[in-house]
């Protein structure tokens, strides 16, 4: 197998705060092949955005980072220390959640795209603007020649996010990190933008990390999906495998909380009980255990490692769902009426009306 484009090993990120150390990312590892797309799914606070910001060298200075990030054979954290100039933006770049705030309000759209070209590729101003027009055309902005002279506030949310995408793609990066790229735009525009990203990625043979809290967004657009909880990857699999044969109870619960078109219209959605853990005081146990229907005594005494077949389907759970061991745990908990962590549970009535 060839060298992966991006290789993250044992990434840990901590933020010292007045309330204690926030353990935002706790040992995340993954590889990403050239041209592949990885979805990272999780709730807010699960560490997915912090992971992305670590890759992009965007963390505040107070953050303590451990582990290694290697991009195409280069140590990304060493590049950050040596103030490497033409790496971010050229090799690797990022698109943010809210197009309303990710464009500079006092600069014309064209200028914002052109400055990247001028800085990284040494284009002259005129040439850079011409290329900006070209790029805007490629991302489907109508009347690009007019748009380059407009300010961000003169454009709609969807157009702005296209401008942001054009800006990110200006220098033909090999990896694009999209952090919830469609959360802040109208529902009607979301699919268009996601399809656009997908097309652009294919055309350019670019790799992509798509960060989202929405499993549905990842489906059909990612080769693989990693589910994050409390700063760890708890399950990782090919997208279809994940949807049809999930193992981690958290993934399972996430899937159950999504309404599906192939289910009867009155199917009950099951919200996940409880709330995400306090990231300042993570205990040496499975962080999901207090909310988990499968939790047993062993979940409360040790942290499950990411196991299974790495590269195919891996998960971090002692009593995985859709396995004999997991079903036994669930049955035992249902009989007792509560889990080992004291969560009261009831049977889920499948397809209830």
């Amino acid at each position: 197998m060839a060298e992966p484009l991006l290789s993250v090993k044992d990434l840990c990120v901590r933020f010292p705060t007045e309330r204690g150390v926030v353990q935002a990312v706790n040992g995340v590892s993954f590889d990403l092949e050239q041209g592949a797309t990885l979805g990272i799914v999780g709730e807010s606070g699960s560490g997915k955005s912090v992971t992305a910001k670590t890759l992009m060298n965007l963390l505040p200075r107070s953050a303590e980072v451990d582990g290694s990030v290697v991009f195409d054979g280069r140590d990304v954290r060493a590049l950050a220390k040596s103030h490497e100039n033409h790496f971010w933006g050229v090799q690797m770049t990022m698109v943010f959640q809210d197009p309303m705030t990710s464009l500079n309000p006092v600069k014309r759209c064209g200028e914002q795209i052109a400055e990247t070209l001028r800085y990284h590729l040494g284009h002259k101003k005129k040439q850079a603007i011409a290329e900006a027009v070209e790029l805007l055309g490629q991302v489907g902005v109508p009347e690009p020649a007019k748009r380059v002279r407009q300010y961000p506030h003169e454009l709609s949310g969807g157009l702005r996010q296209r401008v942001v995408i054009a800006m990110a793609l200006a220098c033909q990066p090999r990896l694009l990190i999209a952090d919830e790229p469609t959360t802040a735009v109208d529902v009607t525009v979301q699919k268009l933008l996601l399809d656009l990203l997908d097309d652009l990625r294919r055309d350019r043979g670019m790799s992509m990390i798509l960060i989202t809290h929405d499993l549905g967004v990842a489906r059909g657009r990612c080769d693989e999906v990693a589910v994050m909880y409390a700063g760890r990857i708890v399950e990782r699999a090919g997208t279809e495998t994940l949807f049809t044969d999930s193992r981690h109870p958290y993934t399972d619960a996430l899937l159950r909380s999504i309404p599906r078109i192939d289910q009867p219209s009155h199917t009950r959605l099951d919200p996940i009980p409880g709330r995400p853990p306090d990231m300042t005081g993570l205990l040496p146990r499975c962080a999901y255990a207090p909310r988990c229907r499968y939790a047993q005594a062993d979940c409360l005494t040790a942290i499950p490692e990411l196991g299974g077949i790495v590269g195919l389907h891996s998960f971090a759970c002692f009593h995985p769902a859709n396995t004999e061991r997991g079903e036994a745990a669930l049955t035992a908990n249902l009989d007792a009426g509560e889990t080992a962590a004291g969560l009261r549970i009831h049977p889920i009535v499948e397809g209830a009306h």
Binding site: E18, V187, R219, S257, I258, P259, I261, P276
Partner: protein, 297 residues
């Protein structure tokens, strides 16, 4: 299709309460604040006790030489007439501090009520009062002070009151802005609903809340008044009798005195600097301690 629908369901469960929101960061005035207050207490005590302290009278021309360097006998040396600079600095603090105090008291007594009334009733009263404040602020304040002091007399009372007039607008605007904020709060609305009289609401409900930011501004304003008195004195139009810091700096600032007796100017400058610094710092701490800002225009 499924994608779009899914967004909503997950969004609901994604709305977790911020884990940190209920925590309040512990606030303190800090040791610097108490150092600043100690300095103010010390300088005020010296000013009050000047007549009984074992120092020269403010205009006593000593037997020693003129422009002599600092020594045990003359801590800050002597000025061009042979007067003890240390003694004069202490005597001068009497003027500076009382001017600062009276001016701010006057500014608060006039500006505070005006601002509260304007902010509470709004409408026409507010328009008129705000315009008066704006005009006062637009006026080159030092020029106004010079004109009034020149036309009346150069007594402590007049200088202090003139600087008090200048303090009206900034204090009044702060009071107005805070009143506007508090008048919208539930406890004031509640008082209105149960039919409390306006004057009662203003005194019992709003005043206590407005007093805190006004207190912070008063500390800063006192520093401004002390500096302003210094500027007036420096221009030859402050209190006629006796030593003041501004007058001493003026006397020490001619080229010959600067060259031969630098400390004649530098001693009062240092004391004034420390006093202004202490007031600024204390005011700043009080303000951030209660974290009130001037929000409305």
């Amino acid at each position: 299709m499924a994608d779009e629908k899914a967004t909503h369901a997950v969004a609901v469960f994604d709305e977790v309460p911020e884990p940190f929101s209920e925590d309040v960061v512990k606030r303190r005035l800090g040791i610097g604040f108490w150092v600043a207050i100690s300095w103010m207490v010390l300088i005020t005590a010296l000013a009050l006790l000047a007549p009984v302290l074992p120092i020269d009278g403010q205009n006593v021309i000593g037997a020693g030489s003129k422009l002599s360097a600092p020594s045990l006998h003359h801590l800050f040396g002597t000025d061009s007439l042979g007067r003890d600079v240390f003694a004069r600095t202490i005597w001068g603090s009497r003027v500076s501090l009382s001017v600062g105090f009276i001016a701010i008291a006057a500014g608060m007594l006039i500006g505070g009520p005006l601002g509260i009334i304007a902010g509470y009733f709004r409408g026409k009263i507010d328009a008129v009062v705000s315009f008066v404040f704006l005009s006062l602020l637009s006026f080159p304040s030092l020029v106004l002070a010079l004109m009034i002091v020149n036309s009346l007399d150069r007594s402590l009372k007049v200088v202090a009151l003139v600087l008090g007039i200048l303090a009206i607008a900034p204090i009044g605007r702060l009071a107005r802005a805070n009143t506007i904020v508090y008048a919208e709060r539930e406890f004031v609305q509640a008082a209105r609903v149960i039919g409390a009289k306006d004057i009662r609401i203003m005194v019992r409900e709003i005043l206590p809340n407005v007093l805190i930011p006004m207190g912070a501004l008063a500390l800063l304003g006192m520093a401004v008044a002390i500096v302003a008195e210094g500027a007036l004195a420096f221009l030859g139009l402050s209190v006629k009798q006796g030593a003041t810091w501004g007058k001493m700096i003026l006397e020490g600032s001619d080229i010959r005195t600067l060259r031969k007796g630098t400390y004649v100017a530098m001693a009062p400058i240092l004391v004034m600097f420390l006093t202004v610094l202490a007031l600024n710092y204390a005011g700043d701490r009080v303000r951030s301690y209660f974290d009130v800002r001037e929000t409305a225009f």
